[in-house]
């Protein structure tokens, strides 16, 4: 079988094609001089993306488990966090952390604010994904573990979360792509990300069609890379073939 016919490889090829097309477009339309600027912007976008993902991936399971198994105070704290960050827009959250917190004597670097706000935003959605996946693991798994005298936390760590993890990978793929798209908001708190650079170059060169086409291709390429990563994880995580009855 041709290696390129594997769907994962096609994703990689498509992503690289996007980047190549963006570069070709830049070179062909006299925007070559702007490429270093764009690359710097991509660097900022990627930094916010990775930082935000890390925050979300840590925060989401913690919030989900607090909501599921915490005592009432902890549970309400988790619910408060989840509902606040799901119920308000990411932009408002960015502005709040950036412009309001200083009034309370807390001034953070824009990059820190960007990573924290977007990470917490996606983390709130992620918490619901984690919670749903944990609840989707059949009750029989808990009972089997209990019959083996495993504690609740052992059951969670060794039996339930590894299965929930497989169930939630596709949803996480969506969330991380949402995160990528939301990174374009950080230009509004003075960060020079890809979108910000594009606007700048557009103002200087007035090559609107070319500039924003390049940016579109780059974002598409990045999101294809995310999808590729998640597919890879999914493939590694899926044990056996089908799931047996009742398991």
């Amino acid at each position: 079988m041709n290696a390129l016919s594997h769907p994962h490889w096609r994703l990689l090829v498509a992503a690289l094609a996007c980047f190549a097309a963006a570069f070709a477009l830049a070179s062909a339309t006299g925007l070559a001089r702007s490429v270093p600027e764009l690359l710097r912007g991509i660097g900022v976008t990627a930094t916010v993306m990775f930082g935000g993902s890390a925050v979300a991936i840590v925060v989401a399971p913690v919030a989900a488990l607090c909501k599921l198994y915490g005592g009432s105070a902890i549970r309400w704290l988790a619910i408060g966090y989840i509902e606040t960050f799901r119920g308000t827009s990411a932009l408002v959250q960015l502005f709040w952390l950036f412009f309001v917190l200083p009034h309370f004597g807390i001034t953070l670097e824009p990059l820190t604010v960007a990573i924290a706000a977007l990470g917490l935003n996606i983390g709130a959605y992620g918490a619901e994904v984690v919670r749903g996946a944990v609840l989707a693991v059949p009750r029989g798994q808990w009972e089997a573990a209990s019959a083996l005298n495993m504690t609740q936390s052992q059951t969670l760590r060794r039996v339930v979360l590894p299965q929930a993890w497989v169930l939630m990978i596709p949803a996480w793929g969506n969330l991380l792509i949402e995160l990528l798209k939301a990174t374009s908001l950080v230009s509004l708190i003075t960060l020079a990300d890809l979108t910000f650079k594009a606007q700048q170059i557009n103002q200087n060169t007035l090559q609107t069609v070319e500039v924003f086409s390049i940016v579109l291709l780059v974002y598409l390429g990045l999101s294809l890379l995310i999808t590729l990563g998640m597919r890879q994880l999914e493939r590694r995580a899926s044990f056996g073939l089908a799931r047996g009855p009742g398991t």
């Binding site: 089997a144 209990s146 019959a147 005298n149 504690t151 073939l241 047996g244 009742g246």
Partner: protein, 254 residues
């Protein structure tokens, strides 16, 4: 060994176990039969401490299962007591409930490592011996999804035995299996009963197996034991009219 002392279990207004009294001697093999919804599974789940009982006391080895002595009375047991009592009991489920992300061997090792704290090598060896005992030495590295139903259930039996319980509970362990796979699982159970000192409590629809394997049969109806007796006697000469009707219906269906 096990004594259900006037045990009651309710779900809302539905009384599932209705003042149940049941004594099981060490090493005794008891088959529980009865119509759907009569509380058979509930008895096993209560004994496995998967469900709370609302009234009465379950005694295991002379100790209250879900209660502790406090002064003259009994209070609800703490986690430590429950864990100690649970270690005497193993359960096999109708739908196997194997851990799908672990190989057959890992399924059997998990509790040995996590609960007993055995070194991995020792756990691996003990799990391997158990799998060999249920005839699956060659399948130890397979994931459950790649095993037949009968093989999965045999892994589940090996897993339940890993902690060396004194009491084994089987809840319709062959109901999800094709007849030919059924036989291999029943064969394993038969062998277990022969070779080990185990008290066994099994819910089953396999009347032939119950008759031949069990010391005693309990016929459940509406959360009570409607009739019980030595297996042969019970099947050859059921006394109650309800029992006769049930047995006739099962024979007709089978």
């Amino acid at each position: 060994m096990v004594h259900f002392d006037h045990v009651t279990k309710r779900y809302g207004s539905l009384t599932v176990l209705d003042g149940l009294d049941l004594r099981i001697a060490p090493n005794e093999k008891v088959a529980i039969i009865g119509p759907s919804g009569s509380g058979k599974t509930t008895v096993l789940r209560a004994l496995m401490t998967l469900d709370r009982i609302d009234d009465g006391v379950i005694w295991v080895d002379g100790e209250p299962l879900t209660h502790m002595r406090r002064g003259d009375g009994l209070v609800r047991a703490d986690g430590k007591h429950l864990r100690r009592m649970r270690s005497k009991i193993g359960m096999v489920f109708q739908h196997f409930n194997l851990f799908p992300h672990m190989t057959a061997l890992k399924n059997c090792m998990e509790a040995l490592v996590r609960v007993l704290g055995l070194p991995v090598e020792e756990a691996r060896q003990r799990a391997g011996e158990l799998l060999a005992m249920v005839g699956l030495a060659d399948k130890q590295d397979e994931y459950p999804a790649r095993l037949s139903g009968g093989q999965q259930q045999r892994v589940a039996i090996a897993r339940a035995l890993a902690l060396r319980p004194k009491i084994m509970l089987f809840d319709e362990v062959t109901s999800a299996l094709d007849p030919e796979l059924c036989a291999e699982v029943l064969g394993v159970i038969r062998e277990l009963g022969r070779a080990h000192q185990l008290t066994m409590l099994m819910v089953t629809h396999q009347m032939g197996f119950a008759r031949e394997f069990a010391d005693r049969v309990c016929f459940f109806d509406s959360g009570r034991i409607a009739e019980q007796g030595p297996a042969r006697e019970f099947f050859d000469a059921p006394r109650g009219e309800r029992t006769q009707r049930f047995l006739r219906a099962v024979m007709d269906a089978g």
